[in-house]
């Protein structure tokens, strides 16, 4: 019996070794020769294929490839450029927008794209609650949307809206969606879904992949590649391994350690560019609810702009960018809008610029009457309370741990001992977003080509409600000057003038310091240059590949075509090996059975 066991084990091992190459040959069916396929790895599963419901980056990216919008950011300037709308004009009172829908755009089922499709899409978002999930805010200011003829769309707004041309809503075919019924329950997961974008979904396998094919009838002309596969990885390390091995061709949104792990591979391009995110500190300068009632337990010293300014001087942003982000970030000499958006980015210069200067920070605090005690800790001017503060960060985020260490060191030198509070994501959002139970907290925001929405997170109206529910504030800020500027930019349709106002808002945030930007993390990606031959980032000059706005990078993609010889070779060999394996298995089983019979017979004798 023991000998038998050993024999079994040996046989099993042999079988396993025989099967391995066979299964490997079957791992990927070889593509048709000449076909250009690009496989994008993503570390986010698709939340919904319905563009009215999806909020994740992966889903909204796919929707941008499937559908068109009124406008799309120009890949060079990021300014709005024609998409399904070929031109537009505004009325003198700035309240009526008239869009001309292009005549040469077709749905993938051959029907023309009309103004009725756009009107139906916008009206659905405006009137159906369930349809507001993805892009509700984009139509909040809309009074009415009508199609006056097949090519003319008229949008009337309640108040002037400068960000109108950044409307992100994908336009869906009315003739298909009218029959859907309950939009909130529609999954839109049957392929091919009718669209008017550069790609058409050919197959969607939940939590596994989305297979897109190029749209031959696309009005700009079909993309250069034939297929785009979006492949889901839960685990970023596995995605990295997949890229190195060649199971995928591109991954975006990498963390610094993952990005660094790609170094040294001759086939991989490490794509390191300026990013769309700002990392900043949020200072509890006296949190209040929307009815101006104080909430929380922020340190009273933080109400004093002088203290906030001194804290700003104590921070060495370059050290943080270099050491916390391994140099893969730009130190922030501005506020919440990153320099990637050249048009809107405000850069602190001259007297406005705050540099790392501990002596200056101490000087400001001394002058303002916060005296240092014998223990080196400052107290409030009335001597009652020490300037001991808490720094709130998330649990399990090594980057934030490092920031905390650096800040603690610098703040000690200006007489403010800092203790770190680690909170899980929910508790963190609660304490820093609506209950105000913090002194200083880490925060960050990814900014869209139009910065309106990130600017809005510092408005009075975003503070928590009287009953204590969050309103989406990022700072509890409520400043008359900032509010005035926000209203002004809303109705300033002259783009350069509007950019100036937006810069003034950033300046206000920088100098008043309810938030202090520390750095702008770079956008880190990697792709295989032996597979992808060309790709246009957005913006074109060192921009983003995956996760940016618009569809340019993936529309412009070109790749190496599948070689002719691998065509039937792969599956053919696989089949042959499979048959061989099957024969071996059957043979071995027969042999074993025969032996077993004999041994049973032996026992009986």
């Amino acid at each position: 019996m023991t000998r038998m066991g050993a024999r079994l084990a040996a046989l099993g091992l042999t079988l396993l070794l025989a099967i391995l190459p066979a299964t490997q040959a079957l791992a990927r069916k070889a593509p048709e020769p000449g076909k250009k396929i690009v496989r994008l790895g993503v570390t986010q599963a698709v939340d919904s294929m319905n563009p009215f419901l999806a909020v994740r980056i992966v889903s909204s990216s796919i929707h941008r490839w499937m559908y068109g919008s009124l406008t799309t950011p120009d890949p060079k300037t990021l300014q709005p450029s024609p998409d399904l709308a070929e031109s537009w004009e505004t009325s003198d009172d700035k309240l009526t927008w008239t869009f001309k829908i292009r005549a040469n755009a077709k749905w993938s089922d051959g029907k023309p794209v009309t103004a009725q499709d756009a009107a139906w899409t916008f009206n659905t978002v405006m009137t159906v609650d369930a349809a507001k999930q993805a892009n509700g805010p984009a139509v909040e200011n809309f009074e009415s949307v009508t199609a006056t003829d097949d090519r003319t769309l008229v949008i009337k707004t309640r108040k002037p809206q400068a960000s109108m041309l950044e409307n992100p809503i994908p336009i869906v075919p009315k003739h298909v969606w009218e029959a859907v019924g309950d939009i909130g329950k529609f999954e839109n997961d049957t392929s091919p879904a009718v669209g008017a974008g550069p790609f058409i979904v050919a197959e969607y396998k939940k939590d596994t992949y989305v297979k897109l094919k190029s749209n031959p009838g696309y009005w700009r002309g079909a993309p250069k590649i034939d297929e785009l596969h979006v492949i889901f990885y839960e685990n970023p390390e596995a995605a990295n391994a997949g890229l190195k091995k060649g199971e995928i061709d591109l991954i975006g949104r990498l963390a610094a350690p993952q990005f660094e792990a790609l170094a040294g591979d001759p086939n991989i391009v490490q794509w390191n560019t300026q990013g769309r995110r700002a990392t900043y500190l949020q200072l509890n300068h006296g949190a209040q609810t929307i009815d101006n009632k104080p909430v929380g337990d922020g340190h009273p010293a933080l109400k004093d702009p002088k203290v906030r300014q001194a804290i700003h001087y104590a921070i060495d942003k370059k050290a943080l960018a270099d050491q916390v982000q391994s140099g893969l970030a730009v130190p922030a000499d501005g506020s919440i809008v990153p320099p990637m958006y050249q048009e809107f980015f405000w850069k602190a210069e001259g007297d406005d610029l705050v540099t790392h200067d501990i002596a200056k920070a101490n000087e400001i605090l001394d002058e303002a009457g916060y005296k240092k005690g014998a223990d080196g800790v400052r107290t409030m001017p009335d001597g009652k309370r020490k300037l001991e503060m808490r720094f709130s960060i998330h649990t399990d985020t090594p980057v934030e741990d490092k920031i905390a260490q650096f800040l603690t060191g610098w703040f000690k030198e200006i007489g403010i001992p800092l203790s770190t509070r680690k909170l899980d994501a929910n508790k963190f959002t609660e304490e820093t977003g609506f209950t105000g139970l913090f002194d200083i907290a880490i925060s960050g925001w990814s900014v869209n080509p139009d910065p309106e929405e990130v600017l809005a997170t510092h408005l009075c109206s975003r503070r928590p409600t009287a009953s204590g529910e969050g309103g989406g504030t990022e700072s509890f800020y409520c400043d008359p000057e900032y509010e005035k500027l926000y209203q002004e930019q809303l109705s300033e349709l002259d783009r350069p003038k509007r950019a100036e106002i937006i810069k003034l808002m950033q300046k206000r945030l920088y100098t008043d310091a309810p938030v202090i930007a520390i750095y702008y993390p770079n956008n880190l990606e990697g792709y295989r240059k032996d597979r992808i031959t060309s790709i246009t980032p957005i913006p074109e000059d060192k921009g983003i590949l995956y996760g940016g706005s618009g569809y340019w990078p993936f529309y412009s993609l070109d790749a190496v075509a599948a070689p002719a010889d691998s065509a039937d070779g792969g599956s053919g060999t696989g089949l042959v090996v499979g048959v061989v394996v099957a024969v071996v298995v059957v043979g071995a089983a027969g042999f074993l059975l025969a032996r077993r019979r004999r041994s049973v017979a032996d026992e009986r004798e």
């Binding site: 490997q24 791992a27 997949g242 091995k245 508790k427």
Partner: protein, 354 residues
């Protein structure tokens, strides 16, 4: 050797099942009563799970509406709308009442993230989990029982020390770490070792159809399954080993040897069947956990099963999905426990007579 008095009276597994106090026709009714009592207990437990689930998940701090829309700019009106859609605007007791009535109708709510009914999401994920954990469990149980038997029969031998030691080492290894290690070596490839296994998931785009599809999935299954087996087989090995060691010292084994039976037969026909009983319970309880999936393994290998669903729900946080998966897993464990009780009752006459 001292023998506990009740073992002396032990009729042994080969004894007539009717030897219990039930006797004859009467024996049926106690079995039924026993099963009914167990099922009643299970139903009660499931009820308590439903109540506990609701309050447990409400203890998680934070406003789900805010947490869910993190980094998505929403106006206060939109947040209110979202809270209404989530049913968070109603008083807690109303929410609880709705929750219980819905759950009893097998409606586990709608996922905030996926905008789909939780029951559908779970149904989608059960298949992959059963494939992964089911295969893993079969292999782990066979491997554990086989090694446990051999280790106990030759206890103290080099095989015993090695296999017990190795299984314990693997058992103590964190699952995600072992998974990542195997992934890095056998999927990504290190040095001369080629990465022959896929780095993710259960299938690729353009997977072959027909019977080749099974091979395709099997290829994807190797590493996750190996990780799972490595981490869990120790428990079967150890339980089997210790219960067989208990049996080896029993008089009936000595008797069997005295009858002149071959060592093989003493082990196979007498000792092992008795030693199997505790292991049966263990296996049953584990089948319950199978449904929960192996969260770490599924996460490392992007395996689209229940464990991954649960992990993503926690990251969300997606309360409806967390609640739903939690209840499904609890129910499965309770049901399997009950089955284990009943099976034990059938398999072991000693339990019936007790």
């Amino acid at each position: 050797m001292t023998v506990p008095p009740d073992t002396l009276l032990d009729p042994g597994p080969a004894a007539d099942p009717a030897a219990g106090p039930g006797k004859g026709r009467g024996a049926r009714r106690p079995v039924l009563r026993y099963a009914l009592a167990k099922i009643g207990g299970a139903a009660l437990s499931i009820g308590m799970v439903i109540v506990a689930t609701f309050f447990l998940f409400r203890l998680i701090p934070g406003d789900p509406a805010i947490a869910y829309t993190r980094d998505v700019p929403l106006s206060p009106e939109q947040l209110d709308l979202l809270r209404r859609q989530m049913g968070l605007d109603k008083p807690l007791m109303q929410q609880f009442f709705d929750f219980v009535t819905r759950t009893l109708r097998l409606d586990l709510g709608t996922s905030y993230e996926y905008k789909r009914p939780v029951t559908e999401l779970i149904a989608d994920r059960v298949g992959p989990t059963l494939v992964l954990v089911g295969t893993g469990l079969v292999i782990a149980v066979s491997l554990g029982l086989w090694q446990g038997t051999r280790a106990a029969w030759n206890h103290g031998s080099r095989f015993d020390r090695f296999s017990t030691g190795l299984s314990l080492v693997l058992w103590s290894v964190p699952t995600f770490w072992l998974g990542l290690l195997l992934l890095m070596v056998f999927a990504a490839g290190v040095g001369p070792i080629p990465g022959i296994f896929p780095t993710r998931g259960m299938e690729d785009v353009d997977a072959p159809g027909g019977p080749l599809y099974l091979l395709h999935v099997a290829h994807h299954l190797v590493l996750p399954c190996l990780t799972l087996v490595a981490v869990v087989y120790a428990q079967y090995l150890l339980v089997m080993r210790s219960s067989l060691l208990d049996e080896i010292g029993q008089d009936y084994v000595t008797t069997a040897r005295a009858k002149g039976l071959r060592d093989d037969e003493v082990r196979r026909r007498h000792a092992v069947p008795n030693a199997l009983l505790p292991t049966v319970t263990l296996v049953f309880i584990h089948i319950g956990f199978v449904v929960g999936g192996a969260v770490s393994v599924e996460t490392v290998y992007s395996w689209p099963g229940l464990g991954l669903l649960f992990y993503e729900a926690i990251k969300g946080p997606d309360f409806a999905v967390m609640q739903g998966t939690f209840m499904v897993v609890c129910t499965a464990v309770i049901v399997m426990n009950t089955l284990a009780d009943v099976a034990y009752h059938v398999l072991d006459p000693r339990v019936r007579s007790a």
